[in-house]
Each structure stands twice: as structure tokens, then as C-alpha cells.
Amino acid sequence: MTETALCRTEQTIEIDYMELDRIIGEEFNNDQENLIMILQAIQHHYNHLPRASLTYLSEKIGVPISQIYGVGTFYSSFSLEPKGRNIISVCLGTACHVRGGARLWERIQDILNVGPRETTEDMRFTLEPVRCIGCCSLGPVVKINEDIYSRVSQENIQKVLDGYH
């Protein structure tokens, strides 16, 4: 974790323990087997996995923090760092790759001046690769938050990005 990202986490994130209790207890029955889905719900709420929420979760369901950290870093959808306001997922599946996905991926990095899994300085975008979202017929595909864009090209990507603030 970079130093600035760490500062952002510790300064701005206040943990809502009532909400955590609701997620862990009511939604997922304090069940250890539901760990991955609990982490997803926490990430959905905070946009990443804040450290304090993980220690709380560890005590609540009796899973060692080391194991939670293992799960949180093994699966690519989890992030321990805060993400930007908009998440750009560029599909790097094979079908998108042969239709120019790789060059589109480079172009977006150039435009935003960030690398893979990085967040822009102004927290506007986080750029992530995704391995296939199953819209292979319409590639190259880019997903921004919940919106899927099909047949994206190096030429029209700027216009797509302009729609997000």
C-alpha cells in the first residue's frame, strides 16, 4: 500500500459497526463459510476493505486475521486500498484481445496516466483489468461501474470516459 493511500484510509474511513453487524450477522449468519461473500458486502459498502473492518470481522466469526488477509489478497476483486469514484474494468479476455483490447488497455493507461490497478490522483478513476465479462461477441468491452460499453475503440474511449466525474 502506498503511503498516501494508507493516509487516505486511516483518515477518512469511519467504520459503521451497526452496518457491519447487519452484514455479518443478519445477512450472512456469522457463518465462516460465507467469508468471501461477507468481504464482498464490506467492499461494496466501503469501496475497499478497510483494515478495522477486517479485525472486527475476524473476532466476530472466529476466523484468524491472517486467513482473512489471505482471502483478501488472493482473490483479484478485493482491494485493501481505497478505490476511485469510478471503476473502469477493461476486458482482457481472448476475444477482446484479438479485437484490439490490448491496445485499448494501453491507450486508457496513457489517457489517465495510471498503471494497472492504480487510481488517478483526483480519485476519479481506478483502472482494472478483467478477464472476460462474457460479452465476447461485442468486444472490445469496457465496464465502468455497472455500465457495459461494447465495441469500444481507441478513438471513442475518451468520449466514454468524459461521461464520468
Binding site: S76, R99, G100, R131, C132, G134, S137, L138, I148
Partner: protein, 642 residues
């Protein structure tokens, strides 16, 4: 009406009860009062703009008699989406293509007034019945077709297809269990509950020759049988962690016909003696999860899931678990570890998961498409199913035909069809008059098959003989602009990232192979590298713990086998003939072909192209970043690869 959790509907206790639901709801599917509009709203349709079309149509025609707007799954021809079917009022059933929000109201209003807007029509339907509804008369038998418009069943994309797993996709609203029942759904389950003993069900599945559709192709009936033999609690699990990039049939089935999977799981549970099921869905498929949740709630409301299913003593519950972005979780032991809330690391399979899997209990794992086939096999019989396909590979397989091919989408074809028929007849060949180079099957564990083997019949065995595999059914077509060394590197980079890291041959071996390939692509390849890659491949294959590592070298081995000349061009001549590896080519304007239209100069993001209109243009190699925009934009092929 959408049923939510806890809602109680009529309890299905007999085949007669199903028949009653079927009578009530087949009206909307075949003989609606007024006009019905079905909009394909799977993820692919939504990506193409179907949601905007749907909202626009619903705003103009809110619920009510006269014109009804419905959502359905995907008809398979994703390239033409948004796909919209309109029917009713004694008129032909018409499928429109590319119905964006700007066109949808004109299409519906035109249809109501009897103007079909022929230019937007993809095809008309001759017979909308699925293969489970042959006892019913064709509802379109008396309706006069539109002249000069082809039938869907005849157009090249569809005329070689046989839809079993995809039978309902695009024809029913996936959020309405009644429509699934109206298409013959849950009849197989009720028959099994009331008439068949579990060993009889297993016998039928074994006789049908159904093999796992997720990759390895293990005979489904044998798997069920070994699980049924064991004592104690056991589980039925559905693998919906469709990780192969380029394959999306499972997503389409879950989004378009979730009940077909639930029914298949229920039948498996009955045969095996399980009361608890799990569906492990990758998190990249949120819509599939949403539709599955609705489907489970509805099946529970009708007494088709839960305790006392169909009024019998059989009980079965299904829980949905979502993945979190790990390709390896498609492997059975990793999937089960992930289901338990752990890191998804595979284990050695001295003891199979059928004996000791999830929670160390016997666990039967099948893939989405496999389960979707099950109800049909039980209704139509093992012999009927066995007549489709080849000796060793029975039935149909869904392929996602994507990449550099004219018609892209999901195609369900009988096993034994040739690759050429799929790519050139169904797919329509390669766009922009480019040359075919290879078709990649089997995802990252598969291989690239060149032109000389295009007449090979597609089945499990034949694809393996060519060094590839059937896999989950991804079929990515590549043309002259695809660099095969780059593709090998692409897959190895993918696998390097997705290796769980616990065994050294896979973790280190794949990394080394990827680095050698990167060197070759950057112009630093050595003549000994090909040999080294082959040696590493043999080592990784032999000593890796799980399937990911064992098959990881396949993309490299097949590309060396069939496209060795490209490797040699990269290593010896420092050239990338396809113009992909940036260190090994540059773009140049062909003096003979450039007419000075100036398009390339306008599009170049680096302002690297100069030239006056109607005069020869020039690329400044210092400024050029080789993004390829000019190459793709030039209509006169005047940008060449050097």
C-alpha cells in the same frame, strides 16, 4: 408478477398441476391478446443497448392490454443485438436486429399498424416451439408469413444448430417460472419423483452418453453413480465459475433460463440422494446471480424446491455462493475450498471430490450446461439423445463463436460438426476480406488449430488429438492480423497471474515461459528458445499439481507445432509478420495505394502522419506509437506492416 421470497403460490403436486400452469401461461408465449414484444436482456443485450430500448418501450407501452413489453434472455446471435421479437394479433413472429432506443418505438408502432419495417428484420420465425413441445401444434401454422423475409431457422447462423441446452434462451422471461413450466419445464423432475427410482435416473443419464460440458468431459452418469454409492450426507454443486476468457454460454443459460439448471440439479440430487445444493457463480456475472435468486424463490414458492418437493418426502435446498475473481476456482477442489470460505487452492486428487469434496463429504460437481441438458434427456430418452453427435461424444455442445469472424454469438451444434462449418457456414467467415489463420478452442488450457485441420469433426477426442481440448466451448477465430507468438504470450501471462502459486513447476515454470515469450516478442529471442520452451512445457505438464499447470503449456506447444515459422520470423528475422509485437515492425505508407484521403492523419492521436490532401502521406517513425488506428482506418490498405 415477480415472486419474492416467502410468497406462496399453488403447490405443484402432480403432472396435472404442471399442465394447468402450462395451459395458463402458454397463452402469453404463443397466443397473446394484442401485441407482445420480447426484448433480449441478457448482459450481452444490455451491453448493446437493450436496457435503453426496454425502458423506452415500457414508458410508451406501460403494462396493460394491447401491447405488452417483456424481457427475455439472449437468442444467441449477439452480434445483432439488441434483438427484439414482436408477435401477436395473428401476424407473423418477427425478430428485429439492432433495435436501439431510437428505433424501437417505430418498430413496435409500425408492427401494430401492419408495417413491418422490413429493413430492420433479421428473420421471421417459422415455429417457436422448443423440442419439448412437439405434442402441441405449431401456433404459427395458420399464419401467413411475410414475403421476401427469411425464416430464422433457415438463415446460416441458425440452420445447423440444434438447441437443447439453449432451448428456452431468448424465448421466455427468465424471471417467470410459469413460462419455463409452459415450455415443458419441471415435467422431467415430476416424472422422476413420481415414476423413477434413483438408479433408473442414473441409468438413463449413463446410457445417454452425456459428458461434462465444463472442460474435461467426464461421463456424467458415472460421476453420479459413484457419488450415489457412498453413505451419509452429500452435496450437489453447480460450477458456474465460467473462467475461460472467450466462453460465455453458462452466463447466457443462467441469465436466460435459470430454471433449466435448477431442474437439472434437482434431478441429480434425487438420483444421488442429496438434500443440499450449491451454485458457485463468478462475481463478474451479477445479473446471473440476480436471476438465480429469483428463480430459487419462485421454485420454493411452487413447492418445487425446499422440503416435500412435489408433495413427496424429497427435500432439496440450493444456496448461491459467489466467487471473487480467481480463474483457478473453476477447478473442482479449488472451487470447493472457495465454497468453504478459503483461499482457492487446489489439492492433489488421490481422493476424488465425488468421495471427499466440500466439507470432506461426497460432492457431485457438474457445470451449468451439463445440468441444463439433464431434463431434456429424461423427457426425450437416452436413445434419442444418443442419436445426436458422434460415437464417443453424444449430444450437442454450445460454443461461443467470437473473435475475427463475421457472425459472432452462441451456437449450439451437434457434436461431430466440422470446425469449417462452424467458422465459415455459421460464422460467415472472416470479416474485411482478411485471411483465416487459426481457431483457438478450450481457453487457456487449449490450443490454436490451423487451417489444414478445419475439416476435423468437433468432439472431445478429435480436439485432443490436435493438441487442443474441447474445454468449456470458447471458440476464438483469429485472422492474419493475429500474431501467434503474442497469443501464446497472452495465455501464459494470463496463467502466470492466475496460478495459485503453491506448486513450483506451475508458479516458476509458467513465469519462465512467459518471460522467454516476452523476450521473443521484444526482439530478444534466441534460437535455442523454442527448444527451451518445449522442455519447460514437458516439465510443467508432468509435475504440476492440478489441471491449470498441467495444461498451461498447450497454447505454446500448439503454436510452435503449427506456426513455427512465426516464432522463427520473430527470433531470426526480428520481424512480427502480423504487425502486433511493437518492437518488431513499423507502419509505412504504400506509395502505390495511398490516394491522399487524409483520413489516417486526422485519426492519428500522435499527429505522426503528415501530407497534403490528394498527395502521398508520410509517417514520422519517431512520433508513431504503433497504436494501429491508421492501419484499421485506411480504406485503401495503403498502410503496410514492415
Amino acid at each position: 408478477m415477480v415472486i419474492t421470497k416467502g410468497f406462496q403460490a399453488m403447490q405443484v403436486r402432480s403432472i396435472k398441476d404442471l399442465e394447468k400452469i402450462r395451459q395458463d401461461y402458454s397463452k402469453r408465449l404463443y397466443h397473446p391478446e394484442g401485441i407482445t414484444v420480447n426484448i433480449g436482456m441478457a448482459s450481452c443485450g444490455i451491453a448493446a443497448g437493450a436496457k435503453a430500448s426496454f425502458e423506452k418501450a415500457l414508458e410508451r407501452f406501460p403494462e396493460g392490454p394491447g401491447t405488452e413489453i417483456h424481457k427475455t434472455g439472449c437468442l444467441g446471435f449477439c452480434q445483432e443485438e439488441p434483438l427484439v421479437e414482436i408477435f401477436g394479433n395473428g401476424r407473423p413472429r418477427v425478430v428485429y436486429r439492432h433495435l436501439s432506443k431510437d428505433k424501437i418505438l417505430d418498430a413496435i408502432e409500425g408492427y401494430i399498424q401492419g408495417d413491418f419495417n422490413k429493413k430492420w428484420i433479421l428473420a421471421q420465425i417459422r415455429d417457436p416451439r422448443s423440442l419439448l413441445e412437439e405434442d402441441m401444434e405449431n401456433p404459427l401454422a395458420e399464419i401467413k408469413p411475410i414475403e421476401g423475409i427469411p425464416f430464422l431457422e433457415d438463415i446460416p447462423f441458425y440452420n445447423k444448430q440444434t438447441k437443447i441446452a439453449l432451448r428456452n434462451c431468448g424465448y421466455i422471461d427468465p424471471d417467470r417460472i410459469e413460462e419455463y413450466i409452459a415450455k415443458g419445464g419441471y415435467l422431467a423432475l415430476m416424472r422422476c419423483l413420481l415414476n423413477f427410482a434413483p438408479p433408473e435416473i442414473i441409468k438413463i443419464i449413463k446410457q445417454s452418453g452425456l459428458r461434462g460440458r465444463g472442460g474435461a468431459g467426464f461421463p456424467t452418469g458415472i460421476k453420479w453413480e459413484s457419488c450415489a454409492k457412498l453413505d451419509g450426507e452429500r452435496y450437489v454443486i453447480c460450477n458456474a465459475d465460467e473462467g475461460d476468457p472467450g466462453a460465455y454460454m453458462d452466463r447466457s443459460i443462467l441469465e436466460g433460463d435459470p430454471h433449466s439448471v435448477l431442474e437439472g440439479m434437482l434431478i441429480a440430487a434425487l438420483a444421488i440422494g442429496s438434500n443440499q445444493g450449491f451454485i458457485y457463480v463468478r462475481h463478474e456475472y451479477p445479473l446471473a446471480v440476480k436471476r438465480l435468486v429469483t428463480a430459487i424463490n419462485q421454485a420454493e414458492a411452487y413447492g418445487l424446491l425446499g422440503d416435500h418437493i412435489g408433495g413427496t418426502d424429497f427435500g432439496f435446498r440450493v444456496k448461491i455462493s459467489t466467487g471473487a475473481g480467481a480463474f483457478i476456482c473453476g477447478e473442482s477442489t479449488a472451487l470447493m475450498a472457495s465454497l468453504e470460505g478459503h483461499v482457492g487452492r487446489p489439492r492433489a486428487k488421490y481422493v476424488h471430490t465425488v468421495e471427499k469434496g466440500f466439507r470432506e463429504k461426497p460432492s457431485n460437481l457438474n457445470n451449468v450446461e451439463t445440468y441444463a441438458n439433464v431434463p431434456v434427456i429424461l423427457l426425450k430418452g437416452a436413445q434419442w439423445y444418443g442419436n445426436i453427435g458422434t460415437e464417443q461424444s453424444k449430444g450437442t455442445k454450445v460454443f461461443s463463436l467470437v473473435g475475427k469472424v463475421k457472425n459472432t454469438g452462441l451456437v449450439e451444434v451437434p457434436m461431430g460438426i466440422s470446425l469449417r462449418e462452424i467458422v465459415f457456414d455459421i460464422g460467415g467467415g472472416i470479416p474485411k476480406k482478411k485471411a483465416f489463420k487459426a481457431v483457438q478452442t478450450g481457453g487457456p488450457s487449449g490450443g490454436c488449430i490451423p487451417e489444414q485441420f478445419l475439416d476435423t469433426p468437433v468432439d472431445y477426442q478429435k480436439l485432443t488429438e490436435l493438441g487442443s481440448i474441447m474445454g468449456s466451448g470458447g471458440m476464438i477465430v483469429m485472422d492474419q492480423d493475429t500474431c501467434m507468438v503474442n497469443i501464446a504470450k497472452y495465455f501464459l501471462d494470463f496463467l502466470k497471474n492466475e496460478s495459485c502459486g503453491q506448486c513450483t513447476p506451475c508458479r516458476e515454470g509458467i513465469t519462465q515461459m512467459a518471460e522467454i515469450l516476452a523476450d521473443i516478442c521484444e526482439g530478444n529471442g534466441k534460437e535455442s528458445d523454442i527448444r527451451l520452451l518445449q522442455e519447460l512445457a514437458a516439465m510443467i505438464n508432468k509435475f504440476s499439481l492440478c489441471g491449470l499447470g498441467k495444461t498451461a503449456p498447450n497454447p505454446v506447444l500448439t503454436t510452435i507445432l503449427y506456426f513455427r515459422d512465426e516464432y522463427e520470423a520473430h527470433i531470426k528475422d526480428h520481424k512480427c509478420p502480423a504487425g502486433v509485437c511493437k518492437a518488431l515492425f513499423h507502419y509505412e505508407v504504400d506509395e502505390a495505394l495511398c490516394n491522399g484521403c487524409h483520413l489516417c492523419a486526422l485519426k492519428c492521436p500522435q499527429e505522426a502522419i503528415t501530407g497534403e490532401k490528394k498527395k502521398l502521406h508520410h509517417i514520422d517513425q519517431e512520433k508513431c506509437i504503433k497504436c494501429g488506428i491508421c492501419y484499421n482506418a485506411c480504406k485503401f490498405n495503403a498502410i503496410g506492416i514492415q
